[in-house]
Amino acid sequence: MTEHAEGQQHPLGIYFWIWGLLFVLSTFSYLVDYLQLQGYLRWGLILLFMFLKAGFIIAIFMHMAWERLALVYAILLPPTLLLVLIGLMAIEGNYTFLTRGIFFDEPPAPIGHVQNNESQAH
């Protein structure tokens, strides 16, 4: 663990590799949109490329891969609490959507259905 004594020093090559990988992954996520992929394939690929990019940035560029585990846990474990918030808000969002469907004049638009005149209706 000599790198800790003099700060984080690693060969330049690894940065070029990750740099290139991030370019490739960003191109892939742009292609998901460009090729008009839809549904679970689209969402799955978006999430896959997003997590890969985030992982490489944190692990290599931010040097998390070479930090001691105590620091890694202190930084990376607290955000997992956000999954609870996301879960709760997803339930809340669904509930609001259904309530609006019942009490608003018009029935809720099916996903993917375009209703251009609805913004003026409310």
């Binding site: 984080q8 330049l12 960003s26 985030a54 955000p79 469907g101």
Partner: protein, 230 residues
């Protein structure tokens, strides 16, 4: 004297690694994180910032799930016509590549800082700052186009769900503010590196500045995925 004490700490912590090391780091009578204090504090600040951006993105998810009005089609809203070709989402793609490139130059700057190559470090940091400034410039162009040409406002827009504008201006505005502050931060530290302020203190400051900059790039990865592509 303090330098000697911290070196002694370094030696004791390296004896244990993995999960035994986690226990040892937290329970031994010593500093928990064997990193410069500025770096530990930057990580903790970034952790708090993670929560801020996550709350923004979660609220965006909630309003998008709950609206009964069609969500505007982002690939058309952010399309540009370049040389007669209509390309969807192209400006956002260019902004993404610029931010990744700036992250690369920043990682280089950190590396050259620890090699004590002042001039190259400062130059790479200035390149990073310029790329960041061009990102903010493109964002200003994007905001102008959306406000003036598309008529998008935080309280409504002619394309669909009115929550689109409030989410967009809130999330990208807060991110753009982070980029702008990062450009200033980078410029100040680059000047001090070039002047030689860190010759005796060491170049951890470049790594700390880099952590902030990579975090800005990291947040953009999530905004790009959830706001622009979803």
């Amino acid at each position: 004297m303090q330098q000697g004490a911290s070196t002694a700490t370094m030696e004791t912590i390296t004896e244990k690694s993995g999960h035994a090391g986690v226990i040892a780091d937290w329970s031994d009578d010593k500093q928990t994180f064997p990193v410069p204090w500025g770096k530990a504090m930057m990580w903790i600040f970034l952790l708090s910032d993670t929560f801020i951006f996550s709350v923004f993105l979660t609220s965006y998810m909630t309003v998008r799930m709950s609206t009964t009005v069609q969500w505007p089609n982002t690939e058309e809203v952010f399309a540009l016509t370049i040389a007669g070709h209509h390309i969807p989402l192209i400006l956002i793609a260019i902004m993404t590549f610029i931010l990744i490139t700036s992250s690369g130059t920043m990682a280089m700057a950190v590396n050259f800082g620890y090699r004590r190559n002042r001039n190259v470090t400062a130059a790479l940091m200035i390149v990073t700052a310029l790329l960041g400034a061009s990102f903010v410039g493109m964002q200003a162009f994007e905001w102008t186009k959306l406000i003036v040409e598309e008529g998008i406002r935080p309280w409504g827009n002619p394309l669909g769900a009115s929550q689109f504008g409030s989410s967009f201006f809130m999330i990208t505005g807060f991110h753009g503010m982070h980029v702008s502050i990062g450009v200033i931060y980078l410029s100040v530290v680059a000047f001090k590196v070039w002047r030689g302020d860190y010759e005796s203190r060491g170049y951890e400051i470049v790594e700390i500045t880099g952590l902030y900059w990579h975090f800005v790039d990291l947040v953009w990865v999530f905004i790009f995925a959830f706001f622009y592509l979803w």
